[in-house]
């Protein structure tokens, strides 16, 4: 339908105009607040040489983002490696559920920043600290969704497994995992979103290389247009990460392949 298509393009553009107008007003009211055009020009400068490397403190935006992504994937991979087996265990065993549940409920709402000083003290290393903080805050949705997936395996499928006398190992790989995988990916998607939120805050405190620290550094340099550029790029990268995870999740979801 052409009308729909026009709407899909026209409406965001219309809203874009409103945002730019608001932004311009704000930058007129607050002295030093960079107006849209200035940010746009800076953005082109920043993106035109994303890979420059002038030593530890001064590197291009792509290198900053990559170093953040490296930590994110470190913590995220660790969260998957621990979270999925723990989730499987909790889903399959009532006792494990009873044992783990209070700790999950208590640790889940703890802010990532609360872990940071402890991690710094233990690891005395910026990278390790960031990876640990991401691990400990992004593991919960993986555990919870994996366990949920296991519990959603229908009694009928388990009866099939019983009649065929599947071993516990066969039961996990032939019955439980196929059902649980879509749930696990939902957990992973949430988890990656959290990881990307956490990394910015963590890097602001730990320093070094990374998009979070870059923003903080530009604040200290009074380079406010770079802060806005940082925000936009974090948003874009986060959106790309989420979309990629969405595609992967759909690929492994048997329900999304035209079969119910």
């Amino acid at each position: 339908m052409p009308f729909k298509w026009i709407n899909a393009v026209a409406l965001p553009i219309l809203l874009f105009g409103v945002i730019i107008a608001l932004w311009s007003t704000i930058s007129e009211k607050i002295p030093g607040f960079p107006p849209p055009l200035e940010v746009w020009n800076e953005l082109i400068v920043v993106l035109s040489d994303p890979f420059y490397n002038n030593g530890a403190g001064d590197q291009g935006i792509a290198l900053q983002l990559l170093s953040s992504l490296k930590r994110v994937f470190g913590g995220f991979a660790l969260a998957i490696a621990v979270g999925v087996p723990v989730g499987l265990l909790i889903g399959m065993s009532k006792s494990a559920q009873t044992a783990f549940n209070p700790y999950i409920q208590i640790l889940k709402p703890v802010s990532p920043l609360a872990w940071l000083p402890l991690a710094l003290f233990v690891f005395k290393d910026v990278d390790m600290t960031a990876i640990f903080v991401i691990f400990i805050t992004s593991i919960w949705p993986i555990i919870i969704n994996t366990a949920l997936g296991v519990r959603s395996v229908s009694e009928d499928y388990l009866n099939v497994a019983k009649v065929l006398q599947l071993t516990p190992f066969e039961r996990v790989f032939q019955i439980i995992l196929p059902v649980a995988v879509p749930f696990i990916f939902t957990g992973m998607r949430l988890s990656l979103g959290i990881a990307w939120l956490v990394i910015v805050a963590a890097e602001m405190l730990t320093g070094g290389l990374g998009i979070g620290f870059w923003i903080w550094d530009e604040y200290n340099n009074l380079n406010y247009s770079h802060i806005i550029i940082g925000i936009i790029l974090i948003g874009v990268v986060g959106y790309i990460l989420d979309t990629i995870m969405g595609f992967i999740a759909d690929y492994f979801d048997y329900r999304k392949r035209g079969r119910v």
Partner: protein, 265 residues
């Protein structure tokens, strides 16, 4: 019957604990001897304990007291010699028709090599006339076809007893009739012993050598056993006015709606 029973349900009780010291006696003193190659149907009002009885034979539910013997061996766990066709087919939706059956065959027949597995699976897909759908997923085929796959999967592991809990209950009457014909043809070919739960009087008479009629719960038990003396193969059209058919039908209706009528409470 002089031959010794193939499947022997011997003074079986089933009590469900309800918590707070209460309990529900679902079945009391159920005695039933089933012969080899026989098709037996179990009929009774909803909630009388048909599924409970079948699940105990399958080993999916525990027996409170009494014993069930298959060829003189006590049943206390599920096993592939007692295949179950569930009411809602319970095919694994992430596997194709072929893979669903293959998975069962591979597990139970570990003596077969790859080629033999393939032939074996195809033989049972053939048996239910589903060659054309073998690479489809359960979500892509009709309810009746799914149920046929369920039957093929159950038969493919060559069980001693085929247990069916209202296998056609969720299907429309035309599909149902079609599957009944399939089942009778297959049973004549394979000689399986079949225990089938049904709500349907005509289905019970058409399919069975004997119809087991259960009383209402609590403490339900076997009320009457009806022998259906109709030669096989049976043709539903010819049976319409057959005297024996009408006698059997009448006896079941009499049992269900007069002797053990159930009044909704």
């Amino acid at each position: 019957m002089s031959a010794k029973p193939f499947l022997n349900i011997d003074h079986v009780d089933k009590v469900f604990p309800l918590g707070k010291g209460k309990e529900y006696v679902a079945l009391r003193d159920v005695k039933l001897e089933i012969r080899e190659n026989e098709i037996v149907s179990i009929i009774g009002h909803s909630g009388c304990g048909k599924s409970t009885l079948l699940n105990m034979i399958a080993g999916l539910d525990t027996i409170t007291s009494g014993v069930i013997l298959l060829e003189d061996r006590e049943i206390n766990a599920p096993g592939p010699e007692r295949a179950v066709v569930f009411q809602n087919h319970s095919l694994l939706p992430w596997l194709t028709v072929y893979q669903n059956i293959e998975m069962a065959v591979k597990k139970v027949r570990d003596d077969l090599n790859a080629q033999e597995v393939k032939e074996h699976v195809m033989k049972y897909i053939d048996l239910v006339n589903l060659d054309h759908a073998k690479d489809k997923y359960p979500g892509e085929i009709s309810g009746g076809m799914k149920q046929r796959v369920g039957i093929a999967r159950a038969l493919s592991i060559e069980p001693k007893v085929l247990l069916m809990d209202e296998p056609f209950g969720a299907l429309d009457s035309l599909t149902r009739a079609n599957l009944q014909d399939h089942l009778m043809r297959i049973q004549m070919q394979t000689g399986n012993t079949v225990v089938i739960i049904t709500h349907d009087v005509d289905e019970a008479v058409l399919l069975s050598d004997r119809v087991i009629m259960m009383t209402n719960g609590p403490e339900a038990t076997i009320g009457e056993i009806l022998e259906v003396n109709l030669p096989r193969p049976r043709k539903r059209l010819e049976l319409q006015h057959n005297e024996e058919y009408l006698r059997c039908r009448g006896a079941i209706v009499e049992f269900l709606y007069s002797k053990f009528a159930k009044h909704d409470d």
